[in-house]
Every structure is written in C-alpha cells, then in structure tokens.
Symmetry: C2
Subunit: 255 residues, 2 copies
C-alpha cells in the first residue's frame, strides 16, 4: 500500500559522532537527506532533473521521535517514503533502524518546491512527484509548531559567523548545520548528561555566507517531568531563521 | 617487502564536500584516519587496546601531495601503511585512488605516542608497533617545516570559539577541524577559484573546548609562479596550535 519505500545502509564513522561516540543530530539529518536524494535519483527525478525546471525541494520542518541515537561503528538502515502531498506541500517520513531491526528514530518532515530565482514557493509539478507513488491528499498531516521563546525566558546565547565550509553545493547553509548552532548554545555539562528523545525544528529564513547568526536557548522550568529546551536562531536584522524544541532525558549510567 | 598495506573503500557523500561538490580537506583527513584506525583494529592494536597502556597515538605532521581532490558520489580507495619507525617517531603513508585506479592524493605523516596523563611523548611500545611489520630505522624520513608567517606579512584573520561538536571521543578537538579554520581565513572568491596541490601542516599544541583560536593567513607574493598561502592558528596565550602551508593552482574552466 502507498508510496514506494527506499532503504539504504550506512556505517557510522567516528567523524559522524560526538564526544560520547553518539551520532550527532546534524549528521543524522545528513544521512536521512542522503537517503532521500538517493531515492529521487533512483526514480529519475534527482536534484539535477528538478533544477532543470528552475526549482528545488526545500524542507520546512522536521519532527523526530528518538528511541536512541546510534553509536560509532553501528550499521544503520535508513528508510524513507514520500508519504503524501497536496498542491503545495509534500510529507516525507524517515526511519532509522539498527542492525537488530529495532527502530531508533522516526522522522516526519514537510517539504515545498521553491523557484530558484524568486525564492518563492511554487505548486509541486506533477512530473517530479508522480514517480514516488505518493498519496494525493487535501491536507498533509499537521506538525505542531515548536514552542516559542518568550520575553521572560532567560536565554543562553552564542553567535556564529557562517563559514566557507558551512555552504553546500546549492550555495546555501546546509540545514544540518543549524543543529550544531542550536545545540552548542547549551552547556557541555547538559549535553553530555542527557539523551535527546525528540526534536521539532522549523526553518523560516535562509542563511547565507558571512551572515552572523545568534543562537538562543532556554531550559523550560515551568513544566513538570519532561526536560524541554526551546531554541531560536536569529539573523542580524532580527528575522528568525529557525525555531526548535528539544526533549531530553537524563542518561542512566549502568553500573 | 615492507609493512602491511591496509585498504578500504568509501563513497563520498554530499555532506563530505564543499560548495564545489569537492571533498573538503577536513573530511579527507577524517577518511584517512578512519583507514588508519580500521587497520589498527584489524591488527588487534586499536585505540582501546593502546589506551589500556595509558597512551594514545598523536599525529604531529601531515604532508599531502594532491593530484586532484575527489568529488561527491565518487568511490575512492584509501590505503595506508605504517612504513617505518624509530624509538619516538612513526612514519605512516596514505594513498587515495579513484575508481579508475589513478592516485588522487599521497600523504606522509609523523606520529608519536603520548601519555594520557602527562601529555608527554613516550617511547613507542614494541607490542603496539610490531603487528604492522614496519621497518625499524635510525631516522624516519624528514618532512620540511611549513613556511612561517613573518612580521611583515599582511594577515587575513578570523577567530573561532571551539564548539561542543568540535570535540571528539578523546575529549579534544579533532585535528581535521583545524583545516576548516585554516582555510576559512581565505576569501571564498579565492577558495572557489583555486585547487589545492599540496598541504603541509604541523600540530604544535592541543586546543580544548571553549578555547578561542585565531586563524591567520597570508598569500605569498614574493615568489614567482607558485601560489602559496602560509597559515597559523594561535591560542589566546599566543602559543601556536598549528602552522600550515598550502599550494594552489587556478582552476581551468573547460569550455
């Protein structure tokens, strides 16, 4: 039933992991995007083909449920499905499974097609969506917005200048880089003692080479039980580039 | 003849390349280190085993001759050989070949064993070097020092704060990160119009989390023909972390 599923395997290298030898969220996003690009190529509608129509796919939101983030040396299987779409939005899911077949991560994402020149959203052309066998729907599944930072929040703040190697083949900052900026705003003592359990990230505005961005984060203290951090990346003119919400649990150390 | 050669293949992903879809020097270094680590594991003297003796391998210098840097999607073969060693230094070579068997990169490197606690160099223990079948020599091949920045040089300068995701499983900044800092000091207009033909980099002092480092670069104008940039990374106390020299050639655009 439904859209084609595409899968590929990947062995996690040391340079895709952090100080705890766990895959970084940025690299995990790179891996799922790779699977998605490999699927488009296998169906004859890769980025080059799409670019000939003057457009490109752009992701606007990811929502990730994380059972556990895989470790260095593990071979994971990344699967993806262009689940459904309407006139303007496509809904794509990803799954990461470990070698025992257990689900590590499930990702829901929302995509649009953007005109390369005008940077405006255009109707998704039939010929580039048809090969996925996706279901055409009135409304794609609605992903909740990340919780917003408020004026009362005590902010942890760091600034980043976009570097040459942050720019990818499209001439823009690769979305995955935002995860490093978002998470680096939190203290190392927090990052090494908590596991991510879910991520909700929305991309609002594109960042370019040499831009200075500000990454702001706060730990929500007004909610019982759950450990939640709220995040925002803003540009020099005050525009929001990204909003995100991360959920965490303390790492339980085995004896 | 000589030491064992270890080889492994790797397909270059989009997230290992730059705006020109060419593998980044940082990622290339990660790939050769991966081959070297995989060789040590295959010989039963991986990092875990070595760490049990309270020591670790540390690279002090890389010298790379580059015919061409591979592109996104290419499958390369990375080969390595622990060529020779003496009491304190080990000399390791790497080769990167493309799928047609042409040599893309040849790397010579110098390694020492360092005590984890004292951070001092120790005699290379017999049991961790023996499995490589390396030649024991009086003197390992001498690699020239990178050309030094002088007081008269006009410097291009950028600062970097070490981020959480710059830290690897050893708790230090991964050497590969230095390449991003070194090269990002040069203008994008230079980086996108020149190919690297050789690299000489020497690591002097370790950089830690939250350090602020300064990357300084100059284009040598007092030499005919060759295009050479000289680089230095300094720490807040003025100590030199890294010195490097890069050679370049203009990219010839085919019609």
């Amino acid at each position: 039933m439904g859209a084609n599923i595409f899968s590929e395997k990947h062995q996690i290298t040391f340079y895709e992991t952090d100080v705890t030898n766990t895959v970084t969220p940025a690299m995990l996003v790179n891996m799922i995007i790779l699977a998605s690009e490999d699927q488009t190529v296998s169906l004859g509608v890769g980025a080059d083909t799409v670019a000939k129509q003057g457009i490109g796919w752009v992701v606007t939101q990811y929502k990730m449920d994380i059972t556990r983030l895989p470790k260095q040396g593990e071979t994971i299987e990344v699967s993806t499905q262009a689940t459904c779409y309407n006139r303007y939005f496509a809904f794509r899911e990803f799954w990461v499974h470990d070698s025992a077949g257990h689900e590590c991560v499930h990702v829901e994402s929302v995509w649009v097609t953007m005109n390369h020149e005008s940077r405006k959203i255009v109707t998704i052309p039939d010929n580039i969506i048809a090969p996925f066998n996706s279901e055409e729907v009135k409304m794609i599944p609605r992903l909740s917005r990340p919780k917003r930072l408020t004026e009362d929040d005590q902010l942890m703040t760091k600034q980043y200048r976009v570097r040459y190697f942050d720019i990818d083949g499209n001439g823009h900052v690769n979305n995955a880089r935002y995860f490093d900026w978002l998470l680096d705003a939190l203290p190392m003592s927090f990052l090494t003692r908590h596991n991510l359990t879910s991520i909700n990230i929305r991309f609002e505005n594109e960042v370019q080479y040499h831009h200075i961005v500000t990454s702001e984060a706060t730990l929500m203290t007004d909610i019982p039980d759950a450990i939640v951090t709220k995040h925002r990346i803003t540009m020099e003119n005050g525009d929001v580039a990204t909003e995100a919400e991360f959920h965490w649990e303390p790492i339980k150390h085995s004896v």
